[in-house]
């Protein structure tokens, strides 16, 4: 988790910035698309882990 936080803290600003440079809508389209797709896997994996933990709450014995 610490690593995820690190990656996002360091990298996200770097990605955010190009947005303000994208001049034409044409370029903006690809930016938003890239920006949208970047966090999705992490969100889904996060949701899945949370869900599985909830499903099996009492059953988990290791930390």
């Amino acid at each position: 988790m610490a690593l995820f936080t690190f990656v996002f803290a360091v990298v996200s600003p770097a990605f955010g910035c190009p947005l303000c440079f994208g001049s034409t809508p044409y370029e903006l389209g690809l930016y938003w698309s890239v920006l949208f797709l970047l966090p999705v896997p992490f969100v889904i994996v996060g949701v899945l882990i949370a869900w599985i933990r909830r499903q099996s709450d009492g059953n988990i014995k290791e930390g």
Partner: protein, 566 residues
């Protein structure tokens, strides 16, 4: 289950429609090896044309530019998707995961069987594209549209449709497989098998499945649109119809980089499994390695644009992606340092699996290091699309698929078939492959740095490449010997399967669970009762024990040491 697993079985249930994870692993293994032969044949034809331009390749004829483009495309597709994935992901996951975590079978055995047969179907669809009108797809294995989106640019229609269909079927198959591996891993571990007692091979196979799982969706979305462009006349990728060619690259490489790890991580897992067994030492830094793998996985999802540095996307995206890409060197540096440290002060035996493991380490290191050139956006301005790239990814894929894969095959061969392979033939196979692999691909770095572009059908057209004429012929000869060097393996593989000396349950004196089961393990693996795990997987040469290893299933009271505490 539809059939009684313990009684005598009919041929069809035992060998064709088997739901036994070990039989399915063997099916994947054989299919992958057969596809590797096809892939090797395409490599032979391409290398012939590059080494001896415009002469007849023995056994085929003249490799014309259109055929060359098809061969380039099919070689990449077959080797990455139809050799690497079935051998490393499917065969190994199927065989190793249930045995190492103590399960009796996969979580969904019938889904597993279905997954294999869908994979066979996709192989058939792909190979069929050689025989349809227009021939095989010719747009490169990356299939960049608009070249791949419309018949008018390549003259290939049905080949392209079959290519997309084959990929879609394959991804469906591997999605089913991945659900199986992950669910099995999460829910069917035997008592005592905590997350930090799971053997490395299983961890890395699971990592590979994770990498595949959350990256394949966008590619399927892209493939659906590419298929529609080809058959329904839409224009998602065709600028004349308002489309956007970069979209495909974006979706393809979103999948593409995790895909590299899908193939690479299982190989690392095998090698990490083999190193402690043959150096009689615990793996160095178990937790560090597992966390590094997680970090590499996370990073693999945010680097994909490094394949698109000079594709015409906004250049301001290049620097951040360059940084993330080069950062990937950090987790892999940790893993490789830990591997090297595992050798230190060990007691190393150079049996065939260990040779392949060390060969993997030695060659993959080169692949990893040259990746730094290509991760740097500005170096990429010159190196993009040259043979330097070709050499780089062959130095990553080849060690993964073949060095890592053969390490795994030789290591688990006694467990797979219950017989020992011939050690001498195994070593001959290794040295032939190791020497001629390097003889083939090392010069390709030089040729690439000299400016030879990939996917060109005839290097004699280029003035700057005149100096490489002899070198190209030499590379071709080395490549042919490399292919011939696989003959000892084929012989060894099939001969030992029937005639090799019988293997006992634990020939390598290894500590993980799969060596508890008989060789080969029966359906259900464990007999009446499941094993219980008491210690970590790599308890070798403990100073407090007389025996030089402690298997995971041996109750030894409370053991000290971090691996034991987990």
């Amino acid at each position: 289950m539809t059939n009684d697993p313990h009684g005598p079985q009919k041929f069809i249930w035992k060998y064709i429609l088997s739901t036994d994870h070990k039989m399915i692993a063997k099916q994947y293994l054989l299919t992958g090896l057969v596809m590797a032969l096809v892939g090797a044949f395409t490599a032979y034809l391409m290398r012939w044309q590059l080494g001896y331009p415009n002469t007849n390749a023995p056994g085929w004829g003249l490799v014309t530019p259109d055929k060359f483009n098809m061969l380039v495309t099919m070689h990449g597709t077959i080797m990455v998707f139809f050799v690497g994935m079935p051998l490393l992901v499917a065969a190994l996951s199927n065989f190793v995961i249930p045995l190492q975590i103590g399960a009796r079978d996969m979580a969904f055995p019938r889904l597993n069987m279905l997954s294999y047969w869908i994979f066979v179907l996709s192989c058939v669809a792909l190979l069929a594209s050689f025989f349809v009108p227009g021939g095989a797809p010719a747009g490169g294995w990356t299939g960049y549209p608009p070249l791949s989106a419309s018949e008018q640019y390549t003259g290939v229609h049905w080949g392209m449709v079959l290519w997309i269909t084959a990929l879609a079927l394959e991804f469906a198959s591997f999605t089913m497989g991945g659900i199986n591996y992950l669910a099995t891993f999460m829910c069917l571990r035997v008592p005592g098998m905590t997350y930090f007692r799971v053997p490395m091979a299983t961890w890395f196979l699971i990592g590979a499945s994770l990498a595949f799982f959350f990256s394949v969706g966008p590619l399927i979305a892209g493939a659906v649109m590419l298929l529609l462009d080809n058959v329904a006349g839409t224009g998602f990728y065709i600028p004349a119809q308002g489309g956007e060619p970069l979209l495909w690259q974006h979706l393809f490489w979103f999948f593409g980089h995790p895909e590299v790890y899908v193939i690479f991580l299982p190989a690392v897992g095998c090698v990490l499994e083999i190193l402690p067994v043959f150096s009689r030492k615990p793996i160095f830094g178990y937790r560090a390695i597992v966390w590094s793998m997680g970090a590499a996985l996370a990073l693999s999802y945010i680097v994909w644009a490094h394949h698109m540095f000079i594709s015409g996307m906004n250049p301001r995206l290049a620097t951040p992606f360059s940084i993330t890409t080069i950062l990937i060197s950090v987790p892999f540096a940790v893993i490789i340092f830990c591997m090297l440290a595992s050798l230190r002060q060990g007691s190393i035996r150079l049996d065939t699996p260990m040779l392949w493991g060390l060969g993997f380490l030695a060659t993959f290191l080169i692949g990893g290091l040259t990746g730094i050139f290509l991760g740097s956006a500005s170096a990429d301005i010159y190196l993009h699309d040259t043979y330097f790239v070709v050499a780089h990814f062959h130095y990553t894929f080849f060690p993964s698929v073949f060095f890592g894969g053969f390490a795994g095959i030789y290591f688990w061969y006694p467990k797979l078939f219950g017989r020992r392979y011939n050690e001498t033939l195994g070593k001959i196979h290794f040295w032939m492959t190791f020497i001629f692999f390097n003889a083939t691909f090392w010069p390709i770095f030089r040729v690439g740095a000299g400016g030879m572009l990939r996917r060109i059908a005839d290097p004699t057209q280029y003035r700057i490449l005149d100096q490489f004429k002899e070198m190209n012929s030499m590379i071709s000869v080395a490549a042919f010997i490399l292919i011939l060097g696989q003959v000892p393996f084929v012989w060894n593989f099939f001969w030992s399967m029937f005639r090799g000396p019988a293997a006992d349950a634990n020939p390598w004196r290894a500590g993980t669970l799969e060596w508890l089961a008989p060789s080969p393990p029966p359906h259900g693996n464990w007999g009446p009762g499941l094993p219980t795990v008491y210690v970590g997987p790599y308890e070798y040469s403990r100073p407090d024990m007389a025996d030089d290893f402690v298997p995971q299933y041996r109750p030894v009271g409370v053991l000290g040491g971090p691996a034991g505490q987990a």
